[in-house]
């Protein structure tokens, strides 16, 4: 058979493309439900990782610790009690702000989604804040394709993520103060974390991501007093809290 005839080449190419297209479409649609499940489970694991929880059965742990996946309005009011989980990190905007309200060892924690840009592609993560809405309880970062050993080290829990715990995310004015600085240049240990040497652009990306993503929640994070104080009747005994309440009243 002459395999160099034009008609043969056209038929060969068409048949090949059709076969491959059907094969890929079949594989993709057959595996879609399983993949979707994996993606959801992975997201739950990521939320739990921000809460420093690494249990084998992520599904059960998620249901235990995460009380609600709320959707907030830009002014900090709750738009919906559920449905935050369905919002992709990339789609978080002022129009829809997912907030995971969690309870760990009797204390309320808030988990906020993060999304930003690294060197080669997107980076994302979650940050868990304590009930004071100021200090960081835990973080989780991940990336699509940062360089292994360099930028990809943002996923290194012990080296990069643990130092965030206990740092201040916001100052009293509600500005995001948590920053990632050049490795070894930490001046204010209260709110600065060492970057990764050799992974400067990714570290800067994490810094920008924290600032951008957390500041979307500014309205929610600064409205602490009415609720916190109302919840604790003995607020007056807590001088720090009452001070904050007073300043807020003055501001209004």
């Amino acid at each position: 058979m002459n395999t160099n005839k034009n008609s043969y080449i056209f038929i060969y190419a068409s048949v090949m493309v059709i076969i491959v297209a059907f094969l890929l479409a079949f594989v993709s649609s057959a595996l879609k439900p399983i993949q979707q499940k994996n993606v959801e489970l992975d997201k739950k694991k990521q939320v739990l990782a921000a809460l420093n929880i690494f249990e084998k059965d992520a599904e059960a742990a998620y249901n235990t610790y995460v009380k609600a996946d709320q959707l907030l309005n830009a002014d900090g009011t709750v738009a919906a009690e559920n449905g935050g989980f369905a919002v992709e990190n990339a789609a978080v905007s002022e129009a829809q702000l997912p907030l995971y309200v969690c309870e760990v060892e009797g204390e309320t924690k808030y988990v906020l989604p993060l999304y930003g840009a690294g060197l080669w592609g997107p980076i994302w993560g979650y940050v868990a804040l304590n009930a004071d809405k100021e200090t960081i309880y835990g973080v989780y970062f991940s990336h699509a394709g940062e360089t292994p050993g360099l930028g990809a080290e943002i996923t290194n829990r012990d080296k990069f993520q643990v130092p965030f715990i206990g740092k201040k995310a916001l100052n009293a004015a509600g500005d995001v103060v948590i920053s990632v600085v050049k490795n070894g240049k930490v001046q204010n240990a209260e709110c600065e974390v060492d970057g990764i040497s050799g992974g400067t652009i990714t570290s800067n990306g994490v810094d920008a991501m924290l600032k951008n993503s957390i500041s979307l929640y500014k309205a929610f994070l600064t409205q602490k007093c009415e609720k916190a104080c109302a919840a604790e009747a003995e607020c007056s005994e807590n001088s720090e809290c009452s001070e904050q309440c007073q300043t807020e009243v003055v501001n209004e």
Binding site: T3, Y12, L24, L31, Q35, N38, D42, G145, G149
Partner: protein, 211 residues
């Protein structure tokens, strides 16, 4: 012809040494630079490439008499791309953690010159079984270089192997510091260069004749 005849074993063995895809054929350098900052991704990448070269070699070898000469590169590319996509989909469904770990590297296999090089140079002219062995041999030859480079880079770049600290703390206390260059892609190029240098110096038959 027996399955493990001398000729077949040669197809399997020479890529590991005298006809190494990276150091002698100088194929697949790009990914050798990208994934060798740590041992783990280097090993996984090496194994994935081995599996995919072997499978693609077999498929192309089966089709070799029907492929029109003028579009053979396109056919090879379609086969490789389809294989890589299927493997990536399967990983996403059944080994999600691994697929997250590999992220973009699975996709990068498509662009690995070893694949096209072996399909064009071997599978187009040989029957399936030797092609399979050739694929395994070349994949392992590639993996071998990747592991050597990654070992050196991870050890001197971050003082770890497989992410476990191996250079003891007292070394750092006495002024030892990790070599930042080792973490950069140029270091991989320099190490690959040194390996090629060593191999050519030992095996003079690899050297081109000087005119």
């Amino acid at each position: 012809m027996s399955l493990f005849s001398k000729q077949n074993m040669e197809a399997l063995k020479t890529p590991l040494g005298m006809n190494n895809p990276v150091t002698v054929q100088v194929l697949g350098i790009c990914s050798a630079l990208a994934v060798t900052a740590q041992l783990k991704p280097a090993i996984v990448m090496g194994l994935s490439v081995t599996i995919i070269v072997a499978m693609a070699n077999v498929i192309i070898s089966l089709l070799r008499n029907t492929i029109p000469n003028r579009i053979r590169i396109i056919v090879q590319l379609v086969v490789v791309a389809a294989l890589v996509t299927i493997v990536s989909e399967i990983l996403k469904a059944f080994a999600y953690d691994v697929s997250v770990e590999l992220s973009v590297y699975i996709g990068l296999i498509i662009t690995n010159c070893i694949l096209m090089g072996r399909l064009e140079a071997f599978a187009m002219g040989n029957s399936p079984w030797p092609s399979f062995l050739d694929g395994i041999g070349n994949g392992l030859g590639y993996a071998k270089i990747l592991v050597i480079v990654a070992f050196i880079r991870e050890l001197f770049g971050s003082g770890c192997l497989f992410g476990i600290q191996v250079i003891p703390a007292w070394c750092y206390e006495h002024g030892y510091i990790n070599n930042g260059l080792m973490l950069m892609p140029p270091a991989a190029l320099i190490i690959v260069g040194c390996i090629i240098w060593y191999q050519r110096a030992r095996h003079t038959e690899l050297q081109e004749e000087q005119n």
